[in-house]
Point group: C2
Chain length 329, copies 2
Amino acid sequence: MNIMIIGAAGMLGRKLTASLIAARYLGGKTIDSIALVDVIAPDAPQTSDLAISTRAVDIADPDVAKTLIASRPDVIFHLAAIVSGEAELDFDKGYAINLDGTRYLYEAIRQAGTTSPYCPRFVFASSIAVFGAPFPDKIGDDFFQTPRTSYGTQKAIGELLLSDYSRRGFLDGVGIRLPTICIRPGKPNKAASGFFSSILREPLVGLEAVLPVSEGTRHWHASPRAAVAFLIHAAEIDTASLGLRRNLNMPGLSATVGQQIEALRRVAGARAVSLIRREPDAMTIEMVDGWAKDFEAARAISLGFKAESSFDEIIKIYIDDELGGVLPR
Amino acid sequence: MNIMIIGAAGMLGRKLTASLIAARYLGGKTIDSIALVDVIAPDAPQTSDLAISTRAVDIADPDVAKTLIASRPDVIFHLAAIVSGEAELDFDKGYAINLDGTRYLYEAIRQAGTTSPYCPRFVFASSIAVFGAPFPDKIGDDFFQTPRTSYGTQKAIGELLLSDYSRRGFLDGVGIRLPTICIRPGKPNKAASGFFSSILREPLVGLEAVLPVSEGTRHWHASPRAAVAFLIHAAEIDTASLGLRRNLNMPGLSATVGQQIEALRRVAGARAVSLIRREPDAMTIEMVDGWAKDFEAARAISLGFKAESSFDEIIKIYIDDELGGVLPR
């Protein structure tokens, strides 16, 4: 089986690649090759038993999709996107990559299928940004898509096209709406959601972190490890069980910032907690207030998707996967 | 005020044109001109006090939108679409006109706004085809969009773009999801929904009609007169009351075929009813079963949109508007 990961150089792409190489199988079949695609050439992990290729391309170029699909991968993971903040700042770039780039991929697959049968599994990384406030306390599986960002609009359109192309038999799509990924490894960044990770990540290694919202702020989380497992499960499930509704709210953990901090105290002690500096920021408070806080995700759970059930677990996963299993003393 | 109607040659476009000419005002302002646009040149009604122009264009041509928007209409009604059946048969044509054609219009408006301020009211005729079964008994205003046709997918995407372009301030959009229009004037056509009209329209003038489904079949209806009133109200409402949620389920009348027939009996007598020939058709039964049956439409009703409350009223509107107010003897 041949796999392609588009957006392979990002955090999730790299973790997915490592996970597939370690597993060597996907859906019960041996993995023969993985093509890693991104706007910058992804690193090719060293491996002896399967072929890894890398490519740097711009998916907003209408001709690129054809050349990517020419190799007819059996499974395509599409993770590439201009993130929310940038898609808001650069309207044209967001639409070019998140909408047109995605549509070119679907179209290239459809066109490839006109010469000889081809219907790859297509896993689309969507987002809870397809939803917009006001929300019910717990968002059900049949809540409507009213995004409040261009990014969320582009993801919602990518989902609708994925469903229609699947219904027509051009591809075999599964769209998964990822929760906010926590704890995101790496340096603090400027994403408005970054503090959900940094208030845990920085104190765990003895560094200060800024909390711009109140402890009562509730949000929807899953670990990077859970997110990679969602992607792999989406590639493996029997899509007959999805019917025509190909896009799923992923499970996650609904937690307040206060609950995150209490978990940090249990795992890393009071000194870690004391490194969190409260600096309320009106703009962040307002933005975060418009985000989804809790989901039912009953359908995805019944289909076998699994997330963490406590923030202690999420923190321990970070310590295992990013800090070698131990906290620095 | 200058108005443009795209899709002006269709049934709703012609009735909207006539209604605007008769009113002479829209949103309290005098109408100076109406530009009628369609793929075939619309008829220009005779009128002395306002300028009517007509144009035949293909909105799937990327350059057409710019030339249409160059005149900077204050209000644009976008009714043009490849209908459901044809969009299903011709995948490329449906996407080219219903998705790309609509997006070109939005983009041309945004581009026009970069040279000098321009933010027209844009009324988008959407459809309950953005929804797909299974449904709750009554579809609420926050039910998700999972279309089961390419047409419904294209309308749902047009809505999402309308919202995002409105949020960004590029245009001032209102999307209205129209019920099935009943009684549709004209000859019987091959649309799967056509029988809802023909079982009333044909018997009213002494002709036979075929009923392919059971009398218990429930569906969601509004008269052509109500649909034109929706369009005009959508052009006139204060969009501040919509917030970021620019797309609305229109009110309608939920009725069974049996209720339609009883109304026909009350208005036109038993002889008219006897002209309905029952010929169950498995394919039509299955298709219609997947369509929405009832809506709350609470939001649209609170915003002042109004539909009929009985089929007697819908039949009488047809007799008034299409048969000169009297039944032929």
